[in-house]
Symmetry: C2
Subunit: 411 residues, 2 copies
């Protein structure tokens, strides 16, 4: 029988009635002849409550204890879903990360999965049992302590389990019915995509689409796990298929641009009149790298006096204040005239594998945006995407403009 | 350094402020030079919430999944207390039952501890760490599944850990400041006992005193764990000693009666006109035993016609309805005239090791109660206690009468 992983997030298991609904989704797949492993998140709100308690007990908390506390949320859901399944006649048992085991690194709070032993789950399948697995967590083998994967880690758990048991596919059930060409709240004409290539989904997730956690997409890509994003609020007896994330070879009619993403989680820093000498870039960016601050877009413009340059780059909004302090501390070493910052900026990106084989895709966008009077503060491009940094007030206008420009509006 | 176990119940860890207070109690003992293992319950209310969810998901729930869900409550507290300890400079780490491990039987929901490996905890002590242990739970070694010890099981966990690490003593912190001669809500003149013998405490706990779980006292008695009952609401800097439960040899001035207990958790069943023939007792009590219904007091009175007898006995109130059904089903086999039941009864008991060496202790009580017009429905006695079953309306009067009779009123 084919093996299947189903993952349900916090809103899908928010109370017992919803957990019963999840059980009906699982029963449908069992009745269809699948061996099913279900990965669950904590009931919505629970993780925040637990995190709040940790912060209250110890503002700079020990991540190992944080993991012990927070992992309890998924433990509760796994037991409750196993009970709800048994109640409708589906044999099931719960599995915690340490019972399977799901092995992780020791980076508590944001651990990486280092291996999954699928044999216990397989034994359960042989007995006709559904495996209900606590998402977001595993165990560090040397210390035997619970380690969590970071927020949203249950998507990653699901894909890792799918790889670990060589599942036919991994269905990520969420509160939306698939992946859209862009955020439907901004563009009502956004379309649900039938298929998205792994690489595209990875860029979309990285660039602001919140439907899947970035690491889960990476993992799906590496292990070629065919992953569906679909709605847990569909009728369990007749659900819609959702969006398939798969190898690009499976996608017959490739669009040039597949989706438009945006992220408000960017802040801009500009250093004016930086001495134009060797080593200056290292002087700027090494202190930020040492502090684990991720620098994204970088542009350098020669100043009017042509002996100095202006350097502009972006950092995550959460790191903005810290980055400014670090740069001021290094001011003498770097040698700059002024530091300017802005948080009212947004990064808008267009993603599509078709860009590889088409020239001038980005240039067309720059023209369209300038025609709408939108000033581009910075640009980055890669093989399958380009991003522009613009004033935040133009977010909706820019997203709609690009969405229409690349023919993504619903007919 | 001497090893010490401290146990804190649900009301003592009900919120972060109280958990901080617990941390201060622990720090006091660490500062005094002890190696400390702390056993914690779930935050008060949490276990009921989790049990409620299990029942909602599956009214006749699978105890293994129930255990998985319910054990999460203690996991949360253990992590939070470890954080609160670290926050005041006391090195600490949390331990779940499966990490130590605390091995249990597979009787999920009411498992027995079969063994504790203290070596991991000892390694922690050697590093100067306080061990914060989730109470109420362990792991069944063969299946690797979490098993809980039943409600109130954290007391048992604490005593078992104390035995497992050969602790100097075990301090059970609770919301009262010790063991009293009787319930102070009924008898304001009740006195806190300085010391109680294991055997006496075992009878008191079995007969209705709720301060400690019966199994924890059994375990303390078997392993000779000196156990204090004391208040977590005392000033952490200057707490009162509480009551010591210890070997009777440690108690110099032994009273005849140490305490008066009462239990409303008894129901009376009387079978009228039972044929007075061999095997009738077996016909009555075997079906109840098979259904795990615990029969306590039994009396048999020859009826007026002297060819039949009346048989009266008590069962736990929770099993009363079930017992009546079983007896009616066996009516033909037993052969009785009528079944009468009463739940408005109470069992009042007097406990004291001194009874062993004094005659007529119980007789004195029967006389005192009859002088107050209290009718005794049934009596049981053992070497160190006697119990009378009376109408529930006389509970307070009977307890006060016996408390005065044996000189237990505060001077």
């Amino acid at each position: 029988m084919a093996r299947l992983v189903m993952k349900f997030g916090g809103t899908s298991v928010a109370n017992i009635e919803r957990i019963r609904n999840v059980a009906r989704h699982v029963k449908r797949e069992v009745d269809a002849g699948h061996h099913v492993a279900v990965v669950v998140s904590a009931m919505s709100g629970k993780t925040n409550e637990l995190v709040g308690w940790c912060k209250e007990a110890s503002p700079l908390y020990d991540n190992r204890e944080y993991d012990t506390v927070v992992a309890s949320g998924e433990q509760v859901t796994s037991g409750l879903l196993a009970l709800a399944l048994q109640e409708i006649g589906v044999p099931a048992r719960s599995w915690q990360g340490w019972q399977i085991p799901i092995r992780t690194s020791d980076a508590h709070g944001s651990a990486r999965i280092t291996g999954i032993d699928g044999s216990n789950l397989m034994d359960g399948f042989a007995k006709g049992e559904v495996a209900v697995i606590s998402g977001f967590q595993g165990v560090h083998e040397e210390t035997g302590r619970i380690a969590t994967l970071g927020r949203g880690g249950s998507d990653t758990s699901a894909v890792a389990v799918a790889a670990g048991i060589d599942a036919e596919r991994c269905d990520i059930y969420t509160d939306v019915d698939g992946v859209y060409t862009t955020d439907p709240r901004i563009v009502p004409k956004a379309q649900r995509l039938e298929k998205v290539a792994f690489e595209e989904m990875l860029e979309m997730a990285s660039l602001g689409a919140k439907v899947l956690q970035v690491r889960s997409v990476e993992l799906a890509m590496v292990h070629k796990v065919r992953t569906y994003v679909r709605s847990s609020f569909d009728d369990p007896a007749d659900p819609r298929p959702g969006t398939l994330i798969c190898d690009e070879d499976e996608i017959v009619e490739q669009q040039i641009i597949t989706g438009i993403a945006y992220s408000k989680d960017e802040a801009q820093i500009t250093l004016r009149r930086v001495a134009d000498k060797p080593g200056v870039a290292a002087a700027i960016f090494m202190p930020l790298a040492d502090a684990n601050i991720n620098v994204d877009m970088i542009i350098q413009v020669v100043s009017d006096d042509s002996t100095t340059t202006d350097i502009t780059f972006t950092v995550p909004t959460a790191d903005f204040e810290r980055a400014k302090v670090l740069l001021e501390e290094a001011r003498d070493k770097i040698g700059f005239g002024a530091l300017q910052g802005a948080t009212d900026v947004v990064k808008v990106s267009a993603i599509g594998i078709g860009m590889r084989s088409h020239a001038g895709v980005a240039a067309k966008a720059f023209k369209a945006l300038s025609e709408k009077g939108i000033n581009i503060r910075a640009i980055t491009t890669s093989e399958i995407k380009f991003s522009v940094l613009i004033d935040a007030v133009y977010t909706e206008l820019a997203v709609r403009t690009l969405h229409s420009l690349y023919g993504l509006d619903k007919a």
